[in-house]
């Protein structure tokens, strides 16, 4: 273990840990949009900038890419950091004018309006909320192993969607993209018998019906792919039951077991 100083507070950390994670563990909230523990540091949103005062390359850097070393001394809210963060938030307010989370964070820094021209796209699949942090792209590719969406175009014309803006058959409908999205930009709706990925070119993913109660409970390819990864016994026990019926079934089996009744074959 080593010791690092964040805003004057001494914090214990493992050598090489990401500073942003160390800070959050110690109750110091550095804002960020593109950081996610499960993914490799990306450094795109620039919100987590901190100022290294001592013990490293002095100056301003992103804390999501900063690996801690003994004696590192950083400030997360120096006047310069606050000045830069406010300016970046103004850029975000102009880019994603409909995002409540951006507005809330900006307000926390006293930024309630932007000097920059607001971008509004008619019928934007991402509801004028996307800030291109890339979490959805990365979680889909690097965590789910699917890669149904990616960046399209370059620079200010970058957008995120499925290839050729067509319905994408690799999408499993898991919704991890929407889960990690920091601005709530991704719209998903279940309209039986499909899950509609409204933001992803209306990709339709069939929903699975519970064998017991008959209701739709999860996207079919996602369930099938997940079950692939389980051992056969567990797979047989779980198959095609919605979470409620599964709980019921498990409980029933537990009771039967405790009373010594042999389990009926399913």
């Amino acid at each position: 273990m080593i010791q690092v100083i964040i805003d004057g507070k001494t914090c214990a950390a493992e050598e090489g840990e990401i500073l942003l994670a160390v800070a959050r563990r110690n109750g110091i909230d550095i804002p960020s949009f593109c950081y996610e523990e499960a993914l490799a540091p990306y450094g795109a949103c620039r919100m987590c900038l901190v100022e290294v005062v001592k013990g490293g390359r002095e100056g301003i850097t992103t804390s999501c890419t900063l690996q801690v070393t003994e004696g590192l001394d950083v400030l997360t809210e120096s006047p310069e950091i606050i000045r830069l963060r406010k300016a970046l938030l103004e850029l975000y307010l102009a880019q994603a004018p409909r995002s409540e989370s951006i507005r809330a964070l900006a307000a926390r820094y006293g930024v309630t309006r932007t000097r920059f021209t607001k971008k509004t796209v008619r019928d934007d699949p991402l509801q004028n909320r996307c800030i291109l942090c890339g979490l959805c792209v990365r979680v889909c590719r690097d965590v789910m192993g699917v890669g149904a969406i990616n960046y399209i175009g370059r620079g200010q014309f970058t957008e995120i969607n499925t290839p050729f803006f067509e319905e994408n058959e690799t999408c499993q409908g898991c919704g991890a993209c929407a889960e990690v999205c920091p601005t709530g930009a991704i719209a998903i709706e279940d309209i039986a018998p499909n899950r509609i990925m409204k933001s992803w070119s209306g990709t339709k993913v069939p929903l699975k019906t519970c064998q017991s109660c008959g209701r739709y409970f999860a996207p079919s390819p996602f369930v099938d792919n997940t079950l692939e990864k389980l051992d056969t016994a567990l797979k047989a026990a779980l198959q095609d039951l919605c979470p409620d019926c599964k709980r019921k079934e498990m409980t029933r089996q537990a009771i039967l077991l405790s009373t010594g009744t042999p389990l009926p074959m399913k």
């Binding site: 620039r46 300016a87 970046l88 975000y92 102009a94 880019q95 920059f116 620079g155």
Partner: protein, 535 residues
């Protein structure tokens, strides 16, 4: 016949065909061959004639219709004096023995007396315009691959790196990082596989140094890379060339094939246990791929987007392996350093700025072309001595160095030495060597707008300050240019420039506002004029 892209653009290929045709009608013992470009673009097409024992005569502004006259003169063992630019009696290709052409034609001025060439010192462009870049034997004839032989047979990898460190050579792509130190980083990494890369993704508007280096003398790049690979311990290399340079790609491809035929690429080079493979990867048109992490992503088939460093490519580069990347021009200096020694090299140029730099002198200046001068040469030497000042006597207002990442330097600061530190001190950068001259008719606000337009277009879109910030800078500049901007718009523009510089992820964004910041600093009056309406 000078037939690099510039020569061809000036009509050189037509002259070449006419010469070929004229020669075919006579029974003369003449070798007509292609060379690269000696750098005097304004005077192209250039034809050099060498008669046995006589000075090499460089003819300029040669037209298709001159072919007959030239061949007739050659048949009479003379040259058409009215087309002559200068004569070269001998030439130092640096790594090899002096080339002695001969004497004669005394009334034609010597090369060194031509104001365009006089302040120049050719080390990188040592063979450019003199040898046929498509024939490996011509390169070998001027001492080519002798430095590689020396390194492989008489030096340890450590000694090679020591020599490069002693030379003081710094990265010619613009960063200016000491090359020897950079090599050492990759060398010290423990890995079974290491790569070296030649960055030939030259993309600055108005810059074409690397293009000419590749088109005029491709083997010197190969030789530099081979020496570097030996020193670093890499067995594979990649040259990343922009697809917009088809002739350079063609000549490099040919050079690699020839080097392989001669056993200079492949297994057990010069009978040693050093083996090396070299391939070419073509860019797909993105400026940002000149940034090393984006370049690596592009070679790997991914979208060309930079990633944060560390890890540096020296630790985790191509395919996750330790990788050393240098610019074309950096590699070209290596054979010289090995052959002449680091100490010899370090005596050229200025303090901490050893060697020469090739600049492309373009814009509103009389003599445009590629100019190689020792580092530390003042801007005025380039603009007034080499370039001969403004067109039609117009006053020169500023130069823009370093491409879109550089800044505009006003004429009052033209005594600034062109080296890494001094250019940074005046708010610009050395960059890869583009020098765009602007005269009194040029609007500096419009110039700044041009460069922001360029970087805005080329921003990869990954980080918010560069992607969104440059977009808003462009909108503000447009507002200024139509005379609708206010003082507060100016303040926003200035503040935003600083924010983008400080918060961007990679070098593109970190330097993109420089044209605006320097024009605001040195030409504020031009912006102020626009605030009162379009001047």
């Amino acid at each position: 016949m000078g037939l690099a892209t510039c020569g061809i653009a000036a009509g050189g290929d037509k002259v070449f065909a006419a010469l070929k045709n004229a020669l075919s009608q006579r029974n003369l013992q003449v070798l007509l061959t292609r060379t690269g470009c000696i750098g005097y673009c304004r005077e192209e097409p250039l034809v050099s004639i060498h008669l046995p024992g006589k000075s090499l005569i460089i003819l300029h502004r040669v037209a298709e219709t001159d072919a007959e006259k030239i061949v007739e003169a050659v048949a009479a063992e003379t040259v058409p004096q009215d087309l002559a630019l200068c004569r070269v009696e001998e030439w130092d290709p640096i790594v090899g023995e002096k080339l002695v052409f001969g004497t004669g034609f005394e009334d034609i001025p010597v090369y060194d007396e031509i104001p365009y060439f006089a302040p120049q010192r050719k080390i990188v462009l040592r063979d450019a315009g003199l040898i046929n870049p498509e024939e490996i034997e011509e390169y070998i004839a001027v001492g080519g691959y002798s430095a590689l032989h020396k390194a492989l047979t008489a030096m340890t990898p450590e000694e090679v790196i020591e020599e490069v460190i002693a030379s003081g050579l710094r990265g010619r792509g613009g960063g200016g990082f000491p090359t020897g130190m950079k090599w050492n980083f990759t060398k010290q990494e423990k890995s079974l596989q290491k790569y070296i890369i030649c960055n030939a993704d030259e993309g600055d508007p108005g810059a074409y140094m690397n293009r000419n280096e590749m088109e005029s003398d491709p083997h010197m790049i190969l030789e530099g890379m081979l020496i570097g690979a030996y020193a670093i311990g890499a067995r594979e290399g990649v040259i990343y060339v922009r697809a917009e340079y088809p002739l350079a790609i063609q000549r490099l491809t040919r050079a690699i094939a020839q080097a392989r035929d001669y056993g200079l690429i492949g297994k057990n080079i010069f009978g040693t246990d050093f083996s090396f493979e070299l391939t070419i990867a073509e860019g797909a048109g993105a400026f940002v791929c000149g940034e090393e992490t984006a370049l690596i992503a592009s070679i790997e088939g991914k979208t060309g987007r930079p990633r944060p460093r560390p890890p540096f490519p020296a630790q985790k580069g191509l395919w996750g392996m330790p990788t050393n990347i240098n610019n074309v021009e950096t590699w070209t200096n290596i054979p010289v350093i090995i052959q002449k020694g680091g100490a010899w090299f370090s005596r050229i140029g200025g303090e901490k700025n050893s060697g020469t730099k090739v600049f492309s002198l373009v814009g509103e200046v009389q003599r445009v072309g590629l100019v190689e001068v020792p580092l530390g040469t003042p801007i005025q030497t380039l603009v007034y001595d080499v370039g001969n000042g403004g067109i039609e006597g117009r006053k020169i207002k500023a130069v823009q160095t370093g491409g879109p990442s550089g800044g505009c330097i006003p004429a009052s600061l033209f005594d600034t030495p062109m080296d890494y530190e001094h250019l940074t001190a005046v708010g610009s950068i050395m960059g890869s060597g583009g020098v765009v001259v602007m005269d009194e008719l040029t609007s500096m606000v419009d110039t700044a707008r041009f460069f922001i337009g360029f970087t805005n277009e080329e921003s990869c879109g990954k980080c918010v300050p560069c992607r969104e910030g440059l977009k808003h800078m462009l909108m503000l500049l447009d507002k200024i240019l139509v005379g609708k901007a206010t003082e507060s718009d100016m303040a926003t523009l200035e503040e935003l420039s600083g924010v983008i510089k400080k918060t961007s992820l990679c070098g593109l964004g970190q330097t993109a506002p420089n044209p605006v910041l320097t024009t605001l600093k040195y030409f504020r009056n031009e912006y102020d004029a626009y605030l009162k309406g379009v001047p």
